[in-house]
């Protein structure tokens, strides 16, 4: 199992990489001891969105499916958590609400994915169908202001959003502040490691082979549609996890976290970071979220303009992503300085390049 951590589909391996990984993890773990609780809460907020970015990285970078629907599943699970937490009562059942809401998002992904993947649409149309679905959900939730729009005791409340659900709770202990922060760190480590193993496993190889050339993969005897659906469900489920955690973090959710411009954000993070690698996405998304939050304090519009500029600059100047490109530069420079044999590293890098067909 552990052998799958390093492999041809992920960059960064060997003792140096994993030492850095442990060092960053250690810093993250002792951070709350030094920072005040407000900053810890903010950090937890950035980490919420990482799952959505990793999910998109899996679908787009590894599976070659450009989904614009991350916020659709974010919204389904976010509202799902709210509805379930309100109706099932607070306390430990909120954990069940979290799990169930992610399952609901995955079922929705399964249904939507079945129609799109078995229908054989891909590329551009995959993007615009998922985006249309997302926008329609946002419009729908936006007009549910009246009292007749409720699920059980949970009012949907239109543009003002749903509120009044409990945060994640175990017994009588609310998971908030640094407890939530540690939960996020643990979840991110688990998800990151699990995704690394997935993409380096035989399943992951088929997913990447499908991205490279679906027909060839099919000729080799794989039902590529099943692998695509699996990728789509996992990637969208991760967006759902972000959504449920988001609702529990702030105890509210509004349609504006589903529609435009929110739907563009995961695309910006992953494109800027480098969609072909999980580590690059993890690092890049965190940096972007941090920067975005810093600017949003002054002007949300300016922050969004900057996001647009970054997206445009990425596709025009570094289509493979800025963080990934930087990482490769650093690694090249390092290994050249060490005069190591860098041939295998280059061969692997080359394998990650998709031939844009």
């Amino acid at each position: 199992m552990l052998k799958l951590l390093d492999g041809p589909q992920t960059l960064g391996r060997g003792r140096i990489f994993w030492s850095c990984f442990l060092a960053v993890l250690a810093c993250a773990l002792i951070y709350p001891l030094f920072a005040d609780s407000y900053d810890v809460g903010n950090f937890a907020y950035f980490l919420i969105w990482i799952f959505m970015a990793l999910g998109l990285c899996l679908m787009w970078g590894y599976g070659g499916m450009l989904s614009f629907g991350q916020t659709f599943f974010f919204g389904i699970a976010g509202y799902g958590y709210g509805v379930l937490a309100i109706n099932m009562g607070g306390g430990t059942t909120t954990i069940a609400a979290l799990v169930l809401s992610v399952v609901v998002a995955m079922i929705a992904a399964g249904i939507l994915g079945y129609f799109m993947i078995w229908g054989g649409i891909s590329g551009i149309f995959f993007g615009i169908v998922t985006l249309s679905t997302t926008l329609v959900l946002a419009f729908f939730l936006g007009q549910t202001a009246g009292p007749e729009w409720h699920i059980g005791a949970a009012r949907l409340n239109g543009f003002n959003g749903m509120k009044g659900m409990d945060p994640l709770t175990v017994g009588s202990f609310d998971i908030e502040g640094s407890a939530l922060y540690y939960l996020m760190i643990a979840l991110i480590v688990v998800v990151y490691i699990a995704l690394r193993m997935l993409v380096n496993s035989s399943v992951g190889n088929v997913i990447v082979a499908t991205r490279e050339n679906p027909q060839r993969a099919e000729m080799l005897g794989y039902d590529v549609r099943k692998y695509q659906l699996l990728t789509f469900v996992i990637g969208s489920g991760l967006a759902g996890l972000s959504g449920a955690l988001y609702t529990s973090w702030g105890q509210f959710i509004t349609p504006s976290s589903i529609g435009l411009p929110a739907a563009a954000m995961p695309i910006v993070w992953v494109a800027f970071s480098g969609r072909n690698d999980l580590t690059a996405t993890l690092v890049g998304s965190f940096l972007l979220l941090f920067g975005f939050q810093t600017i949003t304090v002054y002007s949300q519009q300016a922050a969004l303009v900057l996001m647009g500029v970054l997206l445009l600059a990425t596709v025009m100047l570094a289509p493979q992503g800025f963080v990934l490109g930087m990482g490769k530069l650093v690694v090249d420079w390092w290994s050249r300085r060490r005069r190591r044999d860098e041939a295998p590293a280059l061969a692997d890098t080359a394998r990650l390049q998709s031939d844009e067909t």
Binding site: L66, G123, I124, I128, L131, V136, L304, V305, L310, L312
Partner: protein
């Protein structure tokens, strides 16, 4: 009886016009270059703002609308020259680039002009048939949609430009080898596409509130119409609009706008399961 029939036709015409006007520009760009212009909604917004600005300066509405469409077309050609041109071989990246552009434009407009602009009222005028009254402007919109389709038919089927454009569409390399300036064809097609988007905004400007994010109101309809219609505007987009308008009209009448939109989306998702290439693939194959 005839009053009821006309009422049904009127509702159909209303939805049909909305679908055709919002999708035609997108469909032309997609059909010619295989590129989906994610900033389509922003060109619609541009058309609406230019119209309202000119009308507030005292320009008569129809002239303001034509000028707005021309403005959007010229801006579109500039955008094609600076950005879209680089991405014809990378359609997915063109999606991202135009989306980035869309974010920049929408949010800059929010920063610069703020959220609300004084609108212009819908042109007065209504007529009655039986016990019902109808707004004349809605029929003008339907007429405009039909005129757009007719205009596209003439441009692409009856002119020299159309012949070269269709040749480029079928096989760009061959057309180029035969001496067609494909770069210029692409540029003009993109300009026509964005001018139609501007026209859509110009025509709907009097009927809605002007906000920088208004483009989002149109994109779902334009996306699904193009998805169903496929690459051919006349044989794809138009029948797709007829079909979707009938679904939408039936649902709108009984359950309201939002259910109409959701129902239309469900219909589209069901259809792509059976017709992934869009309606035009079926119609074109039959035609051969």
């Amino acid at each position: 009886m005839s009053a009821e029939l006309f009422s049904v036709f009127y509702q159909f015409a209303d939805v049909f016009a909305f679908l055709i006007l919002s999708a035609a520009g997108l469909a032309i760009v997609f059909g010619m270059m295989g590129v989906i212009n994610m900033a389509h909604g922003e060109f619609i917004m541009c058309g609406a703002y230019v119209t309202v600005g000119l009308v507030n300066l005292g320009v008569p509405l129809p002239i303001a609308q034509i000028l707005a469409a021309l403005t959007a077309g010229i801006i579109g050609m500039i955008v094609e020259l600076l950005i879209v041109r680089r991405f014809y071989k990378r359609p997915l990246d063109s999606l991202l680039a135009t989306w980035g552009l869309s974010l920049i434009v929408t949010q800059s407009m929010l920063l610069i002009v703020g959220s609300a602009v004084r609108g212009i009222g819908t042109p007065e005028g209504s007529f009655a048939i039986g016990g019902y009254t109808f707004s004349t402007y809605r029929l003008v919109l339907f007429g405009a949609a039909v005129a757009v389709l007719a205009g596209l038919y003439i441009i692409f089927m009856k002119t020299r430009f159309g012949v070269i454009a269709r040749a480029t569409m079928q096989n760009a390399a061959m057309a180029k080898a035969l001496g067609a300036r494909t770069g210029r064809i692409y540029s003009i097609s993109f300009g026509i596409g964005t001018a139609l988007a501007g026209l859509c905004g110009a025509l709907y400007a009097p009927t809605m509130t002007l906000i920088p994010t208004m483009g989002a109101t149109f994109v779902v309809e334009s996306f699904v119409t193009v998805v169903i219609g496929g690459a051919n505007v006349l044989l794809g987009t138009a029948p797709a609009a007829v079909f979707l308008a009938m679904i939408r009209m039936a649902l709108n009448a009984s359950y309201g706008q939002i259910i109409g939109q959701i129902g239309m989306l469900f219909a589209v998702i069901l259809i792509i399961r059976v017709l992934p290439e869009g309606l035009s693939s079926v119609l074109v194959r039959r035609g051969r």
